[in-house]
């Protein structure tokens, strides 16, 4: 058994878990954060992506014990109260989801992608960077559209107006 302590969505949590407990199972079963999903056994589908210390991580490929001391943010933790995160809003606006199962992982991957590309994104980059997330419903068309729109919205929001005019 391992004693772990980590921040989950801004709250410090402590737990004793079986050594083999994966981070995704810790989040789902110990923390009740069932928005993070398990879609495969081989770290391929990306339904379980969360942020660990600010980076997108497949929580099925990390032990809960390895995450001890880290700051973890899940799909439940990215909205600002009642205000959706811009990526969440863009997925809704552009119909970037159907059954919703891959969606949390897609959104967590997308927020990480956008933050790593402050210069902006193009379709080819978005498609290449979605390599680790599988969606069976949307054909990715509207997911790509949503991420591009969110990237634009976030870059507009982060740039002061004067700078933009210049």
């Amino acid at each position: 058994m391992s004693d772990i302590s980590l921040s989950v969505n801004g709250r410090q949590v402590r737990a004793t878990v079986e050594d083999r407990t994966l981070l995704v199972h810790f989040l789902r079963e110990h923390q009740g954060l069932t928005g993070t999903h398990v879609g495969c056994d081989t770290s391929q589908c990306g339904a379980c992506v969360v942020h660990v210390d600010g980076k997108a991580v497949k929580s099925c490929s990390m032990l809960a014990a390895q995450a001890s001391g880290s700051t973890v943010v899940t799909i439940e933790g990215i909205a600002n109260g009642a205000d959706l995160h811009p990526v969440q809003a863009a997925f809704k606006e552009h119909h970037g989801l159907q059954c919703g199962f891959c969606t949390p992982g897609m959104i967590m991957t997308a927020t990480d992608m956008i933050s790593r590309h402050p210069e902006g994104l193009d379709e080819a980059t978005v498609r290449a960077e979605l390599e680790g997330n599988i969606c069976r419903c949307t054909g990715y068309h509207n997911i790509v559209k949503a991420i591009l729109a969110a990237s634009q919205a976030m870059s507009k929001a982060s740039k002061p107006k004067a700078k933009k005019a210049a």
């Binding site: 079986e18 083999r20 789902r28 954060l33 069932t34 928005g35 993070t36 999903h37 398990v38 879609g39 495969c40 056994d41 081989t42 391929q44 589908c45 339904a47 899940t74 799909i75 439940e76 909205a79 959706l84 969440q88 997925f91 809704k92 606006e93 119909h95 989801l97 159907q98 059954c99 919703g100 199962f101 891959c102 969606t103 949390p104 959104i107 379709e123 978005v126 498609r127 290449a128 979605l130 390599e131 997330n133 599988i134 969606c135 069976r136 419903c137 949307t138 054909g139 990715y140 068309h141 509207n142 997911i143 790509v144 559209k145």
Partner: protein, 780 residues
Amino acid sequence: MGMEGIGARVTRKEDKRFITGSGRYVDDMVVPGMKHAVFVRSPHAHAQIKKIDVKGAQAMPGVIAVLTGKELKADGIGNLICGWMIHSKDGSPMKMGAWSPLAFDRVRYVGDAVAIVIADTKGEARDAAEAVEVTYKELKAVVDAVKALEKGAPQLHPEADGNLIFDWEIGDAKATDAAIKAAHHVTRMKIVNNRLVPNAMEPRAALGHYDKGDDHYTCWTTSQNPHVARLVMSAFYNVAPENKLRVIAPDVGGGFGSKIFIYPEEVVCLWASKKAGVPVKWVADRTESFLTDAHGRDHHSTVEMAFDKNNRITGLKVDTVANLGAYMSLFSSSVPTYLYATLLSGQYNIPAIHANVRTVYTNTAPVDAYRGAGRPEATYLLERTMETAARELGVSPAELRRANFITQFPHQTPVIMCYDAGDYGASLDAAMKAADYAGFAKRRDKARKAGKLRGIGMSCYIEACGIAPSAAVGSLGAGVGLWESAEVRVNAVGTIEVLTGSHSHGQGHETTFAQLVAGRFGVPIDSISIVHGDTDKVQMGMGTYGSRSGAVGMSAIVKALDKVEAKAKKIAAHLLEADEGDIVIENGALKVAGTDKNVPWFQMALAAYTAHNLPGGMEAGLKETAFYDPTNFTFPAGCYICEVEVDPETGVTEIIQFVAADDFGNIINPMIVEGQVHGGIAQGVGQAMLEGAYYDPSGQLLTASYMDYTMPRADDLPSFKVSTSNTPCPGNPLGIKGCGEAGAIGSPPAVINALTDALGIADFTMPASPSRVWAAAQKH
């Protein structure tokens, strides 16, 4: 309110829970005292079970129970069935082999369940499952349907001599043979439709809960049709009587057909929850899904298409061998028969058609409906043949199709279907324009200079949706009726609940169904809730598959709304002291036409429930129910064009553009319809270029994970150009045809027609992986 009614691009009401991580899927459900199950599965494709020793497993930490097929049988749990009777052409009924939810004497495919282990945690159940000792005597296996028919092939079921389930035919053999004999030209092809795994992103799951106090079962399951699951588990599998069994399909993470069927696991979890005295949850891991979800397609066909000297089709003869796997899944028999061969006329006037279909047992996972179900196989066969015929005849593929299009409606084909409406030329024109078909030669020449091979291909598909008129399918062998039900409850404050037998697992019913009601009564869409997926809440319904939720499910809602409207108008007329015939409903109020006299919707609703001042003899309340049974199938159709570029050095094929021009009839929400088409195309392109389920000769599934089975990923696909040119369906009140399966039906032949055009070859077997394309390019 027009902004929220029919035709509006309303963003989805259900999205909020999915984008915030608040969706509720079966694996998210927790019941007090719940334990976790792991199934012990056969590692062999074909073997006798000599002995199952569970003692070691039972002694493992955390283990509650280890149960086997013998105990299941002893408790009277029934065998799994196929619910659609097909008769062979000699009149004999299909040969259904026994399928016990837990195998006890013999296993017939890798993944066949032999025991269930229930423990405190999934990890403990998994550990204990490995300690269950099953002694097998291995038998020879056969995985290929054609080989399974050969003399001396391993035999799967004593009921099915020679592994043949049925040998069925449709159409006029004599007339077709005569047409081929008299033909000016005959195009002949061998067509393989590759085996696929549906791969909904949410793995199948079941949570069975037996309540001792009430002698009542609840099953949470990943189902597209919870009522059908309850009916089948009650009437055939003897789990519990219907009134003692509640089936809930909460949020379901995609289905694509694979979650229509009632699988062994939900039956066993329910039974085990009583036997072990604990709620039992099972969630498939991905490899388990690959091994045991019903697969799709897997047809081997030959086709002969006859033409006269004017390039008119005079006859079509098809012979198909369809692999149904180790057991007959719930609707497996209907897929290669009435969902396939009845569509072999395509969009064309074909005076004589004959198809012969043999279905076969093999040591592979059961095969059943997967997005399109039979119609993709028909379309692929027909559209590959049309393209090849055009090349052989030296005419434009577009013009050969156009010359043979059906243009007069209704049109009775020689294979049962009567097409009600369509304009195939309009879709063809729209697709060719969107693809700049005329400019292709220039693009091809430019690519050639860069050492690349460009090709363009098209596919004109038709499908039968809106499944289905109950009497018609009953006469063809269906064990169920395929109507749909709806209940509309107007609450006392005027808010509305619609309870529907349709089930949404990505299709957006909570939005489109609400749009229908909002548009009808002019009430805000937020005041309408769609309730589905729970047999305790919703009256009997038939569920979602075959692109039926719009055409059949919404039609049932329309019928119920008609009744609500009639009563509402009576109440309003009484309150307004007006004539019932003068009442109109506009912007959330019931008005006396041509006056300013009105009663707001909510006030009318309140009056219905206070019942202080109702017309004489009227019952209180405002709630109406309807069952809608369609009078015909619907016939979505369209034209898809694909342009590819092949690098002959590497075999890598890039999709340069993909155009879809569909006719779906009237559309409720264009945004959602486009999304359905995008997803369908991705699955169709996946079939054509990436996907394939492969068994080795011993019956081991070689493609049992996402590391081996190539799922379409974002960088495998382009953005799609989609449009519609719609002819309303005359057969239902909303004029809807359905859009859920079109993309998966129309796209594979468009891709392969483009690829064979690029390579200058006639035959190519899907999927177009780089190695296979490279090999084909070298031969050329």
